[in-house]
Homo-oligomer: 595 residues x 2
């Protein structure tokens, strides 16, 4: 796809290997860098000669395209050579550098391959000379380089790398940027200094990448004003501006956050990249605080907002992720298709930020399961995995086996451990109201600690087993009454999965818009191994609204007539939200009106 | 404002009277033409030397800017002289011509001043030579010229003018246009031939201007396929895609129609120009059919969607007209402000299509009150007016006196009439459930005819009086259950006015978002002559939602806990929707959730 869309060709023209005009948008290089980052992590997971050859070719191409002075951006080199660094608001040059750094660090860290890092260090020297202390006081219109520079600093130890990250963050909030759509400088988070911010605003991906970078900066500097601002932003986002799926961004216009409680399901944006930005930020906040609420939101966002983007076949992607679609006509982003209207997930996008963002997340997902500290090992996400860590300098290996998220039973086996006691911490998911814990078959009756983790402290032996049984009952969820778009609705969840009703699974011959969910009847769980790659469905009784009095009428005076009632009984079937839209685009809704 | 924004200067540069660069957008001339049309109608209403001098200056300027070959568009003449007619999708050249024609016809018809018409005729000759039969088969990316050309044909009788209108309509539907936002060719109504359309789609102003032009074409040609298509579009719009205010356009992204029943109050677009486009179209459908439903929608749209645009002082305007605003932060269009964020209606807009559209409507409003036919006089809108008409070639003068829309009593006095009997038709407003009719003081007990008009046929005498008393009780209105955004809400109306709740009028110290309206208690009407220029308020009992269990929570499992209840009683006060936002932008909502 990167060849087809012209991304590689742009770099070849910049490298003088080919002639022609630039194709696409000024940030097309970043798609290459994200894909390359994915390759780096993936090659470390499993060596593959074909992938390695592709990576080598791309790295050589990027190195060849770099200018003698370190500059590298195929758009400006090919299309506007005189305009470098002239459009800080929308030029995306620093944004692309951020992803180049992340790709270089993936290769350096995972494969000890520093070829791309050499390109990066030359480029960052160029940037430091231009934007460092005493130079241009501009900053980036699209954040992203901040977290990359902090990570680069962690690798290189070069204080200039941290300094640059800090400068780019400190220069925000001067209302200098032009903005987009109805947002003004808020679009770029340039309306208020980062340390004074108390609301997530503007373009959602920009906001979340900036927050992740500012959180990284706090981690290295201990600047408490930054962390306090991050807590305010997180509070604002999670209590007023987030979807049940973990998705964020209520508006197509400006791809941005909306007003508090403005959370429509049909016209929500919920860009895949914004959900990934939220993962990056929540991971960092979890590292700082050790609190499970960040890992909870990571889980919710991963299994729902992010996982809904790729189709089940893995070769097509949604850019915006709606929670409600009428008659298959989901609202399209102007950026999400290469051409024309399509009936399904497009294979690639004109603005293709999302697909390679999913790729690099998938390739590095193992890094987000667990952490270590001097006290022991902390498990944040439950999945089949071998966890190899160091506790107090000594190796620990744990094997985790589970059918999560379909089943709440998680088995852990201690394969290697030092003799000295250490603590195994297991996250208590917020969705789980009852759970059982056993060590070597014996029940352990403890409550989670104040951070939301069960702590098992003991002198572990190889062969020790821990069994965690999270009761996974289906549940109805209700929305805050201030959310106008969801009034009178409920959603279904089970474990970490948000469910949705798709037209395909409902009784034939009934208008999907007229379905209603019963408020309190039993929910039935039904495994469907042959459906959509193997899922668990939820069945719930419902009604069909009688619409006779509403023929050709949108509004009517409330009179003495009998109210519109939901009379006919039906059985409704819900599937996991992530699996929607894989059988043709039909009607779909996460929030079902109550009968 | 036209001087300040650069519109006049652009024309002076095109005329060679000034040097410099073009300012603004490629359609800036149309703002001048709409304003000039308003001047034409207004000068006919009341001569005014100062306005006449401004009109003369503008007309001379426009004539001076016209090129020798008849072409006239200051953007292309000044900024892109080689690119004329090269961007039919977004160039707006034909769109501007449409408004030039309308201005010329206003001066010709209302003032017998044909100076601007001479400019028009030269330009239309140029267009006919370029786009007439056998020439370029392009059409306009923004409709508007079609209705202007039909109207020009009515004035000139030149069949080429009708022919051009028909060509521009017939050339649509070939999927040649690029579109905008997520819409594709639908944005321009180029996705389906006009006669085959069955849904209003894409950019709302474009759709409605096209519909008005196609309806005009039917009137002159009798092409039934056009009228049938218009009926389908009207059915789709009025039963699936219109707001209670008569506003249309659900989406900011693309300023367009949404999916059926996608009618959010907070992020609705409801562009002022789209509402005016709806007036133009409904007026034409009423002329064709004589049915009151079109005049009903005209009235609803006029008193609500359109009247809300200008502030009460008349010097500031809304571009988008929301039905719900949270904390004063109404969603802004990228096009609606000259610069920066403003707390109130802006005095002018960067895309200033709306303000002069309101001006020309206000100046010509008298033309929409009544019609004549061989049978007599038909009154469609109730207002203080002297109606001078011809019935069967003989003069009829009626004086209409009323305090409408505050009071439903309308008094008509026959001032001049022929001896022969004729029929006075009075519209029965759809909002009115009981009414009384008296002629010379004597009750007349008749039902409206099948078209929705009371018909009074008699030999009228000068001095005859007709009294119509439309009972104007306040009423609650409920939404179609398929409208997700309005579930569980009701709105208040009285007469033709939609009401809204604005924070200013509610009890202090209560979160506006937590107010609820009682479902069935009495509504109290209260005149407030000192408030907002003199209005009638509606008072209704309500509750304040107890939000204790929702602290910092957006979603929660439905458990056995007592549901969120609305306990505290409050008295809510509603004002006419058109008057909102004149005391600072606070919270406002038309649809109030029911307790």
């Amino acid at each position: 796809m990167l060849e087809k869309a012209g991304n590689f060709r742009n770099l070849r023209i910049a490298a003088g290997l080919e002639t022609g005009a630039f194709t696409g948008r000024n940030f097309y290089d970043e798609d290459v860098y994200k894909w390359l980052e994915a390759l780096g992590w993936e090659l470390a997971n499993a060596p593959d000669a074909a992938l390695q050859a592709m990576a080598d070719e791309a790295i050589n191409l990027i190195a060849a395209a770099q200018m003698a002075d370190g500059y590298l951006n195929s758009y400006y080199q090919v299309a506007e050579p005189e305009a470098k660094w002239s459009d800080m608001d929308h030029g995306h040059e620093l944004f692309c550098v951020g992803h180049l750094i992340q790709a270089a660090l993936a290769f350096a860290r995972a494969l000890h391959d520093e070829r791309l890092l050499k390109v990066v260090l030359r480029f960052v020297d160029h940037i430091y000379a231009r934007f460092g202390p005493g130079q241009s006081d501009a900053t980036d219109g699209h954040p992203g380089i901040e977290m990359a520079l902090v990570e680069l600093y962690r690798y290189t130890g070069d204080p200039r790398h941290l300094e640059l990250a800090e400068l780019f963050i400190d220069r925000r909030g001067r209302n200098r940027m032009r903005g987009h759509a109805g947002y003004g400088a808020e679009y770029h988070q340039d309306h208020v200094p980062v340390r004074m911010a108390d609301e997530v605003t503007g373009h959602a991906v920009r906001q979340l990448y900036l927050a992740a970078g500012a959180t990284d900066l706090y981690m290295e500097t201990g600047d408490v004003a930054l962390l306090e601002a991050m807590h305010r932003l997180w509070q604002d986002m999670t209590t007023r501006k987030i979807y049940l799926t973990g998705g964020v961004g209520s508006r197509f216009d400006g791809e941005g956050f909306g007003a508090p409680y403005e959370l429509p399901g049909d016209t929500c944006y919920c860009e895949t990249c914004a959900a990934i930005g939220s993962l990056l930020w929540n991971w960092r906040l979890m590292l700082i605080t050790g609190e499970s609420r960040y890992a909870d939101l990571f889980e919710r966002t991963l299994y729902n907002a992010v996982l809904a983007s790729p189709g089940l076949a893995g070769n097509c992607f949604l850019y915006a992720n709606p929670l409600h679609v009428r008659d298959g006509r989901y609202v399209r982003a102007s950026t999400d298709v290469m051409s024309g209207a399509e009936e399904k997930r497009p294979a690639w996008h004109y603005v293709a930020c999302c697909p390679p963002n999913v790729m690099r997340l998938w390739a590095s997902l193992g890094h987000y399961l667990a952490t270590t500290a001097a006290s022991g090992v902390q498990i944040h996400q439950y999945a089949n995995a071998r966890i190899a860590a160091q506790v107090d300098g000594r190796p620990v290996v744990l094997d985790m086996t589970t059918d999560y998220p379909w089943d709440g039973r998680i088995a852990l086996r201690v394969t290697e451990t030092p003799d000295a006691p250490w603590t195994l911490a297991l996250r208590h998911p917020a969705w789980c109201s009852t759970a059982a814990l056993r060590v070597n078959g014996a029940a352990v009756d403890i409550a989670p600690d104040e951070r939301g983790y069960w702590l098992l402290h003991r002198a572990w032996q190889p062969g020790d087993t821990v069994e965690l049984d999270l009761t996974m009952s289906p549940r109805r969820v209700e929305p805050n009454p201030r959310i106008d778009a969801l009034r009178g609705c409920a959603a279904l969840e089970r474990g970490p999965l948000v469910y949705c009703f798709e037209q395909h699974d409902q009784p034939d011959g009934i208008a999907f818009a007229d379905l209603r969910l019963d408020a309190s009847t039993d929910l039935h769980v039904q495994a469907a191994p042959a459906l959509l790659g193997g899922i668990v469905c939820i069945q719930a009784s419902g009604r069909v609204l009688g619409m006779a009095r509403w023929q050709n009428t949108l509004y009517r005076p409330i009179d003495g007539a009998s109210p519109t009632t939901a009379a006919q009984r039906v059985m409704l079937t819900a599937i996991p939200y992530y699996a929607w839209g894989n059988r043709g685009m039909a009607s779909m809704r996460v929030w079902m009106p109550l009968a």
